[in-house]
């Protein structure tokens, strides 16, 4: 399930929602389930607003303190001294201490899945509290990804012995199949949120969610598809906000398959794709052509690195001259047939993925590649990936904001394959990712990331098509802080305010 968590939050549930609970100020968040891919995640995916983590990331992906007030690293890079923020309280009023942080880190270390996924957790030798607010983590080797790997909610068991409580601005108070109710955390250390209650509610379709919004029963649509963003944007009662998401639509190529084993083939496929046209035709312009695997706004990314330039003729030449070796057994007999043929899995009933797949199929067809499309139920998708039973698959793939994400996806070494379901292995890529892990400072990190992008371009594991744009719609009843622009508005949910009739926030 690891990849699912990285892909997006998805679930498919549905029944008529109950009326919103009474309360002075209630914000109802509508989650259209038709937008979700992973059936194991639904509105629960938004429960993260109830908890907080040790660190967070700014709009450039740089790690910033959250429950940690700060940290320091020993000269050899092996000892991390973490300083817990003072004044932080859990939702039951108890104070956050270094013991809570230690307990959280210990839980991560003890979790095999977390150890398998992370780059650094396996290198943790000890976790010790050295004071009420100080925790020292000692590594067996340098690892710059440590804070990303420790990105887990800091929670505590409530007095009832069952409920997990966090330090977030809202606390979960009730839940049903399609509704989760959160209430403002009066003990929140940054001040009690102006909104008293948040209701997370799932809807079968965007239409029903939007209609509910028009009726004033939904205040925020967590995600609106690019097809309908245009139609919503001119509503005077709705603020439509668009931001570059952390996800890129990509066709993952199984490099273990003979047809796709040759890096030149995968390069040819990459330059056969007109990404601008894909964005326009497949995403209605709501996207950014993807030229690499790193989130384009990441602080360490070198934007000057050239991406794949659309060149169908070069792709054709590359495929005819070099792919013939790959298909040597068939080439002689099937001169008139396309030199390359593979099947791409397409999650069923996702119009955008289907449209992108069709466009990719057509563009590849223009260079003589026959890409068959196979619809696959999301529930069956993980099994096929686990077994490696696929040539290619089109998916939204997370690319940010953590710098550790490329490591998890594309590093081939280690006790587990992490998110590297496609069996991708490239020594230069591994070396670059290791260099990023071992980086002593920002400069080293940047250089390593550049090396990674260069290596990946030489041996692309996928066809990154476009970075998606997330569209969210919020009722003008509420005013979202401007510093929430450019990312999910729920990051600043604790500072949403009810807008006064005159337009000013109360």
């Amino acid at each position: 399930m690891g990849i699912v968590g990285a892909l997006s939050a998805f679930a498919c549930q549905g029944s008529s929602p109950p009326p919103p609970p009474p309360g002075p100020i209630t914000l109802t968040i509508g989650v259209p389930q038709s937008r979700q891919l992973d059936p194991s995640h639904g509105i629960e995916a938004l429960e993260w607003v109830t908890t907080e983590r040790l660190t967070t990331n700014d709009s450039s992906g740089r790690t910033k303190p959250l429950l940690l007030e700060g940290w320091s690293l020993s000269a050899d890079g092996l000892v991390w001294s973490l300083h817990v923020r003072s004044g932080v309280r859990f939702q039951d009023g108890s104070s956050l201490s270094s013991a809570d942080v230690k307990r959280t880190i210990d839980a991560i270390v003890a979790n095999p899945a977390a150890r398998a996924l992370s780059a650094c957790v396996g290198d943790i030798r000890s976790v010790e509290t050295t004071g009420e607010r100080d925790v020292v983590v000692t590594l067996s080797r340098r690892c710059s990804y440590l804070l990303d790997d420790l990105d887990s909610p800091v929670t505590r068991t409530a007095a009832d012995g069952r409920t997990r409580i966090g330090t977030g601005p809202f606390a979960k108070v009730a839940s049903s199949a399609d509704t989760i109710t959160l209430e403002a955390n009066r003990n929140y250390y940054l001040g009690r949120p102006p909104i008293d209650r948040v209701v997370l509610r799932s809807y079968d379709t965007l239409r029903t969610a939007w209609a509910e919004m028009m009726r004033g029963r939904v205040d925020f649509l967590w995600e609106v598809g690019p097809d309908t963003a245009e139609l919503l944007s001119d509503q005077s009662s709705v603020d439509v906000r668009t931001f570059l998401s952390y996800y890129a639509y990509a066709v993952l190529l199984n490099s273990t398959r003979p047809a796709l084993r040759d890096a030149r083939v995968r390069r040819a496929i990459n330059i056969a794709i007109n990404r601008e046209a894909l964005v326009q035709q497949g995403l209605r312009g709501k996207g950014l052509p993807a030229n690499g695997l790193i989130w384009p706004k990441h602080w360490a990314r070198d934007g000057s690195i050239p991406g794949f330039v659309y060149d169908p003729e070069a792709a054709t030449r590359l495929l005819r001259g070099e792919a013939s070796d790959v298909q040597a057994t068939r080439a002689a007999a099937l001169r008139s047939t396309p030199p390359l043929e593979f099947t791409c899995l397409v999650p069923a009933n996702f119009a955008i993925l289907e449209r992108l797949a069709l466009l990719v199929q057509r563009q590849l067809g223009d260079v003589g590649v026959r890409m068959h499309l196979e619809s696959i139920a999301p529930s069956a998708m993980m099994g096929r990936l686990d077994r490696g039973d696929y040539d290619a698959i089109v998916l939204p793939l997370v690319g940010g904001p953590y710098a550790t994400i490329p490591y998890r996806f594309w590093h081939s070494a280690g006790p587990s394959r992490r998110w590297n379901y496609w069996g991708y292995a490239n020594g230069a890529v591994d070396a670059a990712l290791d260099a990023m892990r071992d980086a002593r400072d920002d400069q080293h990190f940047r250089e390593a990331m550049t090396s990674f992008e260069t290596a990946v371009r030489d041996d692309p594991p996928a066809v990154f098509l476009a970075w998606s744009q997330t569209v969210q719609a919020s009722s003008r009843r509420f005013e979202v802080p401007r510093d929430g622009d450019g990312r999910d508005a729920l990051y600043v949910l604790n500072r949403w305010q009810l807008r006064a009739p005159g337009g000013m926030a109360q």
Binding site: S34, D204, T205, L206, R207, T208, W210, A211, M213, M214, R215, G225, D227, T228, E230, L231, D234, Q235, S236, S237, Q281, V346, A348, N349, A351, E354, R355, A357, L358, L359, Q361, R362, L373, E374, S375
Partner: protein, 570 residues
């Protein structure tokens, strides 16, 4: 009248202009909005028709081609990518079994069944808003020939372009276009704020416009002013798209639709009002300049009529009115001159008459005095004569004195004392005193007194003087052998004293001026008797009048308030 004559036509013209402007502009606005509705209808029709024709063309590509399912599949996918309006294209065999699809996986569409209308040869389901908020219809084009239908090409037809088309059209700032399906379902709304009604599946079957459009003929537009959501009046025009049986309605707030008309109307009213004001002011100024000299002439005329001959008019104009003013002033100047002349003549005449009267009234007593003085020289030793002389002298001087008193009485009122007196007695005394004169004149004097007495309140001397004046006039006006009658009559609250004669009478044209100063019917004398008599009667609160017939005689009547007789008289 002049102002009315000028203003009424302008007002009439203004009213007609406003009405004409209002109606003309209204017609223009309605026609404009209808034109928008028709154009939108045509664009919608063309949009649907074009896509359905594309579908038919795609279907035609499949006829008798014996393509494999995989080939069909690829072709359908290419078409789906090429024509984004078709979100899915799938073929079905004659039995309804899926054959090929543009989808990855199984077809998502099914063949529309039931009472589905055929549009341009393609079966088209009602438009619904799908889960992704997009308006969608399922359309199916037959494969094969009519004689041998091989199956169907079914498409999921996203008509979201219809929303864009409708959303792009704004009529003014508050006017929008609605597209309504055959069942009254709202398919598109140009107002973004109303678009949620589309998503909610709002049905407008009961809408006044929809009802009218469905009831009318296909090419008959509908124009209404209907209440909007906020109660504001809305100008709504609608047309039908006969091929689709859809309706296009353009709604615009009447306030905005007719804003230009109202502005023009206001401007026109303002212009007319201004013209009217200018006309009235001009008329007033002009009228005043015209009337002012006329008014001055009227006032001048009235002043002249009142005797103020010094009144002149100022008319500074060279028009006829100016000349009239000059003529008026000349006339007034001439009147002054004439008045002066008349006064001179009157003074001269009066002086002559007074002089003649004085000569007449005084010459006889002076003559008598002179004659008696001469006789006295001769008969100074005659005692009887001396006695006669004394009486004569006394009488003549008394006469002279009365003449002077008459003149003085004209200058100032004589003192009157009021006591009850009996007119019968007064007339008897006067008759006794004047009987000599009467007989000398060869006349007879009759007394006709009221038996019951005739008591009035008055001055016995003043009334005696009045009576004597009247009797003297009667004597002088009556030829010998005539009769002078003195009578009293008490009746009701008044007593009348009447003196009549059988003389020559007074011409009717002289009757009215008998009691004026220095007026006399006699050839000689001052003519003050009747004037003094009238003053006395007026002072006693009575009246004096005269009736006369030329050649028959004259009767003077003095009427005074009757009073009861004093106890002594009883």
């Amino acid at each position: 009248m002049l102002a009315t004559a000028a203003v009424v036509p302008l007002l009439t013209y203004g009213a007609l202009s406003v009405y004409s402007l209002r109606e003309g502009t209204r017609r223009s606005v309605v026609d404009g909005n209808l034109n928008v509705a028709r154009q939108v209808g045509e664009q919608v029709r063309r949009y649907i028709a074009t896509n359905l024709q594309i579908l038919e063309a795609v279907a035609a590509d499949f006829n008798h081609t014996n393509l494999s399912a995989e080939q069909q599949d690829r072709i359908l996918k290419n078409y789906a990518l090429r024509f984004p309006a078709f979100r899915e294209l799938s073929t079905f065999d004659a039995a309804g079994k899926p054959a090929a699809t543009s989808r990855v996986g199984r077809p998502g569409v099914t063949l529309p069944t039931g009472d589905v209308p055929t549009v341009y040869g393609v079966r088209m389901s009602p438009v619904v808003v799908d889960g992704d908020l997009l308006p969608t219809a399922i359309v199916a084009a037959p494969l094969g020939h009519q004689q041998q239908q091989e199956g169907w090409l079914v498409a999921e037809f996203s008509i979201e372009e219809l929303w864009r088309l409708v959303g792009r059209i704004h009529v003014g700032s508050g006017g929008f276009v609605l597209v309504v399906g055959p069942g009254g379902e709202l398919l598109a709304h140009g107002n973004p704020e109303e678009r949620e009604r589309v998503a909610r599946g709002t049905n407008l079957s009961g809408n006044e416009m929809v009802v009218a459009l469905r009831a009318g003929s296909a090419d008959e537009p509908v124009v209404r002013e209907i209440p909007g959501k906020t109660g504001e009046r809305v100008l709504a025009v609608g047309v039908r798209i006969p091929e689709l049986n859809w309706m296009v309605i353009v709604e615009q707030p009447s306030r905005e639709a007719f804003a230009v008309a109202r502005r023009h109307e206001r401007d026109l009213i303002a212009a007319i009002s201004l013209a009217l004001l200018i006309m009235v002011l001009t008329g007033l100024l002009w009228g005043r300049s015209l009337i002012r000299p006329i008014t001055a002439l009227i006032h001048g005329t009235e002043a002249i009529a009142e005797g103020r001959l010094d009144q002149r008019v100022v008319v500074e104009s060279k028009s006829e009115i100016g000349k009239l003013g000059e003529a008026f002033n000349s006339m007034a100047d001439r009147l002054v001159e004439l008045q002066d002349d008349v006064r001179k003549q009157e003074r001269h005449a009066m002086f002559g008459r007074i002089a003649a009267g004085l000569v007449h009234d005084l010459s006889h007593p002076f003559k008598n005095v002179q004659n008696n003085c001469r006789l006295m020289l001769k008969m100074h030793d005659d005692a009887e004569y001396r006695e006669l002389f004394r009486r004569t002298i006394d009488r003549e001087f008394a006469h002279i004195k009365r003449v002077f008193e008459d003149l003085r009485s004209l200058a100032r009122p004589m003192p009157i004392e009021r006591f009850p007196l009996d007119l019968n007695r007064l007339l008897t005394d006067v008759a006794e005193s004047m009987r000599g004169l009467v007989e000398t004149a060869g006349l007879s004097l009759d007394l006709d007194l009221d038996d019951q007495g005739a008591f009035v309140e008055g001055d016995v001397f003043a009334l005696s003087r009045v009576t004597r004046n009247l009797v003297l006039n009667a004597i002088e006006a009556t030829p010998p052998n005539g009769t002078v009658t003195m009578a009293t009559e008490a009746a009701g609250g008044s007593c009348r004293l009447r003196v009549s004669d059988t003389g020559c009478g007074i011409p009717p044209d002289r009757i009215g001026t008998l009691f004026e100063d220095f007026t006399t019917t006699k050839r000689q004398g001052l003519g003050l008797g009747l004037a003094i008599s009238k003053k006395i009667v007026d002072q006693l609160g009575g009246t004096i009048s005269a009736t006369s017939a030329v050649g028959q005689g004259t009767t003077f009547v003095v009427e005074l308030t009757r009073v009861p007789p004093p106890p002594a008289a009883n």
